[in-house]
């Protein structure tokens, strides 16, 4: 039997022993234990070291608000830091370690920080990182040096660097009513709503539904409250219209009643089932939300209130009643309200000696006096704890007479021998989600707490969340909220009957006992009452500034314990009432959220792959692929031993010598159909399309509304009212959006539909002197001679038995044809063309060779249509129709767009026979040390097999006027400097004789 485990009680499975390690030492617990309860049962009192002072810390709480006992859980190489031990369910093989200590939790060298005293006060790092402003170290990097050690000395757990192999998923959920929190209020709300037949989701961050019913020791409907909760949950589980989400923290409340939740699916399991995610991120869209999130017990602020063994009173009750663990053998309680008396009775019943109840109030009610008597505890009314004793565990405390009105201490100190001190400073409703939902909390002077605001979104509060701290009130409010949320009428049926220890819900307005010693407000960030006062003295009077300066309420617990005491102390310092000081707005997330859960199924797979119909053929035939946007395209089809340059030079040369074929399925393709299709294209393109004959294609240019070039491509007229527009691969989506925008918003009267048919067609471009002969050898149903298929003509036929559409157009500058077939036949047609090309030495070529041949021809792509260039800059002004307006025509002649010093498209030839680089600058005079006066930059470059030179396209000031002149490339990033000749962008076959045939 472990030293602190009770003989009976709790919902743990005492027949199942779980083995785990903490800081390398083996421990056991029972199924149902948390790491906190199992370690506490094993006699562990020291759970962590504090953030700044490295003070020894024990358990303060039993739930999600635990600020001290943060641990790192290890799974293989993966470590997850800063998890409250109270939220870790133990499993066989669990490995947990403590944090922020060197070399060990028991002997931590960082504890020397406690000697730092006032130096480490609020705003410590803001002050120190400014560096010494006087003395010999002024102006040196000494403090930078110190920063390294300071940062190491302070902090929480360390994030891991090993890749996380766990699976995360996102779920989208819709419901009529989302109930957050499954205490008596939440269970009643869920039941009432579910009975109305609406869809209900009930989420609770704990593993078991029931909330306070699991440990209150009360009875409901004549049975232990925990059993009642279990029965309610079982009933809900049997409803088809209810989804139960245990271990699910609703952490964000966003607009439109969209809430974010994190479900810990397998964190409590030794091994996840196949495909089971570690965590699920739930995006829940709820018609109505019932917030039944309960309340947090507040600590009292007094010297030594952070010593291991000092715990919240309800937490002790929970350890006893839920886990069968006593926090100590000799227990004292310190309170400003009635709720601690119930804890005293529970502790006594479980076998602890309750040595004293210290109550700041002198007028304790007879009922409470009777409870103290039941607990056999000495009642010290009108007293306060002024000190605690012990090292890594509590050994005793000192009390003094206390006046709750004036806050003054009097009389002699008296020692109380105890190994556990349980405190209760009143209760704060858990209003985080309501605060996130967008309204300001309201101070209630009776409850001495911030109550939820009036809803600005569709939520209803119930139970302790609203400040109704009794279970009977929670049950009544829960049912009413559930009914209201579901749109049901009020019920006259009797409510479950609660038997509970009575008590006044209103505490005495006492938050701090001012005596000598460090009194902690924020345990997690080591913020003391004196730090709050120091911030006030230094001028931080706004509550938001106080938070940031002192770090009060930051980090993983987000002020769950410290918020109200901190504000109360600040208010006292300011001499203002608490409501005037106000409170900070809670922000998401309510608790820490793993990045993995936000990435969800995109973890390790950031974008989908877009594949052409011939993708597998390319892979099987040695293509080296690269990504182009979402697409994967062949870069080269390299031969063994070939460099990329050797491969593309070979491919381009072979194409120009005989024939080559390239997969052009990625080109954007948009069906433009309808009676007004031609008119629409006339408006969209700079040039005329209404005059295009059926069965012909035309090259078109689009401008943006601001007159800059947008995209180019050919559009084929397949029928009188049926066009097939092609776009650049990269701009397909943007062009589609552009067209839809103009049809939906600007010209809704036009009868035109636009549909993405990019994926409908597989495209193969075959070019070169023998391209026509190859086609002729495999196409049936049509001729492909010059008369039947002139330049920009379109014919229909069959290849390998499947229908194809062939358009004669050229990007390479060779006699070329684009062969389109249904995508499902793409590989079949491709293979047939390859087979037909064998006698001609047909090569497959990739994007590098494609780019090489287009540079040789001086065609533009997205590298030149870069959002800054105009049609004139690119020498495409011949396409700007003067007969009609078009998108961009009104803006294209603006002064800045026709200025003579604009960058214009030119060609470059490297005069030193060395490769040029994209992005390299063009200058008139070389200055390698201080490069300056750029004339422009290179947009695309290659080795040209046709010219036998390294060439490039560039955008250069003066453009055409510089043809035939010499300049220099200046590329300091890659240390490439050298002479170039500026020439026309049409390097190869400028009159087009090869492609016109």
């Amino acid at each position: 039997m472990s030293p602190r485990r009770t003989e009976t009680g709790g919902r743990i499975d005492r027949l199942r022993t779980i083995r785990f390690t903490f800081d390398g030492a083996p421990y056991t617990g029972h199924a149902g234990d948390t790491l906190a309860s199992a370690l506490l049962a094993s006699g562990v009192t020291l759970f962590g070291r504090s953030f700044k002072y490295h003070r020894p810390r024990g358990l303060l709480a039993a739930g999600v608000e635990e600020p001290n006992a943060l641990v790192t859980v290890l799974r293989g190489e993966v470590r997850e830091p800063n998890i409250p031990a109270t939220m870790v369910e133990i499993y066989d093989g669990l490995v947990a370690v403590s944090q922020n200590r060197t070399p060990s939790l028991a002997w931590d060298i960082g504890a020397l920080n406690q000697l730092g005293g006032k130096i480490l006060s609020a705003g410590f790092y803001y002050k120190t990182f400014m560096g010494p402003v006087i003395g010999p170290l002024k102006g040196t990097r000494f403090w930078m040096f110190c920063e390294h050690f300071i940062r190491r000395a302070a902090g929480l757990g360390k994030a891991g660097t090993a890749p996380d192999p766990a699976r995360y998923e996102r779920m989208n959920a819709f419901c009529d009513v989302l109930v957050v929190g499954s205490g008596p209020a939440g269970l009643m709300a869920a039941k009432a709503a579910a009975d109305q037949g609406v869809r209900v989701i009930l989420a609770d961050l704990e593993a078991h539904f029931g909330g306070s019913a699991n440990w209150s020791g009360e009875s409901i409907d004549g049975m232990p409250a925990a059993d009642w909760a279990q029965r309610m949950a079982a009933q809900l589980a049997g409803n088809d219209n209810v989804r139960l989400l245990p271990r699910t923290t609703v952490w964000g409340y966003y607009d439109g009643n969209t809430l974010a939740a994190l479900e810990r699916v397998t964190d409590h399991k030794e091994v996840a089932a196949k495909g089971e995610p570690r965590q699920r991120y739930w995006a829940i869209r709820a018609g109505k939300v019932v917030l039944a999130t309960g309340s947090f017990e507040r600590p009292l602020v007094f010297p030594g209130n952070d010593r291991p063994g000092v715990m919240l009173a309800h937490a002790a009750e929970r350890y006893v009643n839920e886990y069968g663990v006593l926090p100590g053998q000799r227990v004292a309680l310190f309170t400003n309200n009635d709720s601690a008396y119930r804890s005293a009775v529970a502790l006594k019943k479980a076998g602890a000696a309750v040595v004293a109840i210290i109550d700041v109030r002198s007028d304790v009610s007879n009922e409470m006096r009777r409870l103290a008597s039941d607990a056999e505890a000495e009642l010290l009314a009108g007293h306060a704890v002024v000190a605690t004793e012990g090292g890594k565990a509590l050994t005793g405390l000192k009390v003094q007479r206390f006046d709750a009105v004036s806050g003054s201490l009097s009389g002699d100190e008296r020692s109380v021998h105890a190994d556990s001190l349980l405190m209760s400073g009143g209760w704060s409703p858990t209003i985080h989600l309501a605060s996130q939902a967008g309204a300001k909390a309201e101070w209630d002077s009776s409850r001495q707490a911030f109550l939820p605001p009036k809803p600005t979104q569709r939520w209803i509060g119930a139970g302790a969340f609203t400040g109704s701290f009794s279970t009977a009130e929670a049950i009544a409010e829960g049912r009413a909220a559930g009914l209201q949320a579901a749109g049901g009428a009020a019920l006259s049926a009797p409510l479950p009957v609660v038997e509970a220890v009575p008590g006044d819900p209103d505490p005495a307005p006492v938050f701090e006992i001012r005596a000598k010693g460090k009194s902690f407000v924020d345990f997690q960030h080591d913020v003391t009452a004196e730090d709050v006062r120091l911030a006030h003295r230094e001028g931080f009077v706004s509550v938001e500034h106080l938070k940031r300066y002192t770090t009060l309420g930051m980090a993983t617990d987000q002020g769950k314990n410290s918020n109200v005491p901190g504000l109360a102390i600040m208010a006292e310092a300011l001499g203002k009432p608490i409501p005037e000081v106000g409170t900070t707005r809670f922000r998401p997330p309510y608790t820490a959220v793993s990045i993995g859960s936000l990435a969800a199924e995109r973890f390790g797979d950031l974008k989908p792959e877009r594949l052409t119909p011939m993708h597998d053929w390319h892979i099987a035939n040695g293509a080296r692929m690269y990504s182009a946007g979402l697409w994967y395209r062949p870069m080269i089809y390299g031969l063994p031993g070939e460099t990329v340059e050797q491969a593309y030079v070979r491919e381009a040369k072979a194409t120009r010598d005989s024939a080559g074929i390239v997969d052009v399925s990625t080109l954007g393709k948009i069906a433009v159909q309808g009676p007004d299709a031609a008119e629409f294209l006339d408006r969209v393109y700079t040039n005329m399309f209404s005059t295009l004959a059926v069965g012909k294609a035309r090259y078109g240019l689009m401008l943006r509304e601001d007159g800059l070039a947008f995209d180019d491509g050919t559009t084929w007229r397949l029928g009188e009212q049926d066009f097939l527009m092609t776009t650049t691969t990269a701009n397909a989506g943007k062009v589609m959006q552009h067209l839809e925008y103009f049809l939906d918003v600007i010209w809704p009267e036009l009868k035109v539909t636009v549909t993405s048919v990019t994926d409908e067609w597989a495209g193969a471009a075959i070019g070169g002197p023998n391209a026509r002969a190859i086609l002729a050898s495999c196409v049936t149903g049509t001729a492909v001679d010059n008369a039947t298929l002139p330049f920009m003509g379109i014919v229909h036929g069959r290849i390998a038995g499947v229908p194809v559409m062939i358009c004669r157009l050229s990007f390479s500058g060779e006699m070329a044809f684009e062969v389109y077939s249904g995508a499902g036949y793409g590989t079949r047609v491709w293979e047939a063309l390859i087979e037909a090309g064998k006698p001609f030495g047909l090569v497959t070529y990739g994007l590098e060779a494609l780019g090489t041949m287009r540079i040789e021809k001086g065609h533009v792509t997205g590298a030149e249509i870069d959002g800054r260039t105009t049609a004139r800059d690119l020498h495409l002004d011949w396409m700007l129709s003067k007969k009609k307006p078009f998108i961009g025509s009104a803006m294209m002649d603006r002064e800045g767009l026709i200025a003579p010093d604009r960058l214009e498209l030119v060609g470059l030839i490297a005069l030193d026979n060395r490769a040029l680089n994209g992005g390299g600058h063009i200058v008139e005079a070389l200055d390698e040390v201080n490069p300056h006066d750029s004339l422009g930059h290179i947009t695309a470059c290659c080795y040209s097999p046709a010219l036998g030179k390294y060439i490039a396209l560039a955008l250069v000031k003066g453009g055409r006027a510089r043809h035939g002149t010499r300049a220099f490339v200046s590329d300091p990033l890659r240390n490439r400097f050298g002479p170039v000749e500026i020439v026309s962008n049409h390097f190869y076959d400028p009159d087009g004789s090869r492609m016109h045939g």
Binding site: E276, G674, T753, R828
Partner: protein, 200 residues
Amino acid sequence: MAEQQLPERQSPLEPEYHPGSHGNFEHGIDVILSETRPGSILQLAAWPGEEKRLIEIIRKVTGLTLPDGAGGGTSSGARAVFGFAPGKFTVVDEAEGLAAAFAGIITPAIGTLTDLSHGRTAIRIAGPKAEWVMAKFFAIDFALPAFPLGAGRSTNHHDIFAQIQRTGADQFDIYVFRSFARSFWKALCHASEEVGYEVQ
């Protein structure tokens, strides 16, 4: 051109299409995944005011009567139709050649016909956990009252546009762009591992 028997189309899923049981199937198969490979997938669009005439044409050609309302749809064993945008419908047939049946009937005065038989890939997910798996991908309410039988929805999963039709109480047909289909399929299989799935 004389009608010829066309060869079988290549599926974009081929290298990743593995019939059999996968994932956590030891405890049962909760979803069945398949590629339905319809012969015809058409997009029909009506000009504003011409929707009823187009719906009537759809009824005459396919025998399917579209219910009123946005996103309404219906399916028989071999054919299916649903609205996916105002005045726009996806019509699907197991057999090829449905476009020819509509050609000439959908006049320029009524609307347009676009053949997407090759451009879209049809993936079916069926089984008791179909809604669960779908909820991993799409921010859509898949509950039967919100997404009735036969109805269609246009949505997307990250970069992948998808049209979804409910073709059974626990069955959905998903139409994705062919180029994205393999990527989507892999993601769908991955997401289905948890519940145990079978590829048919």
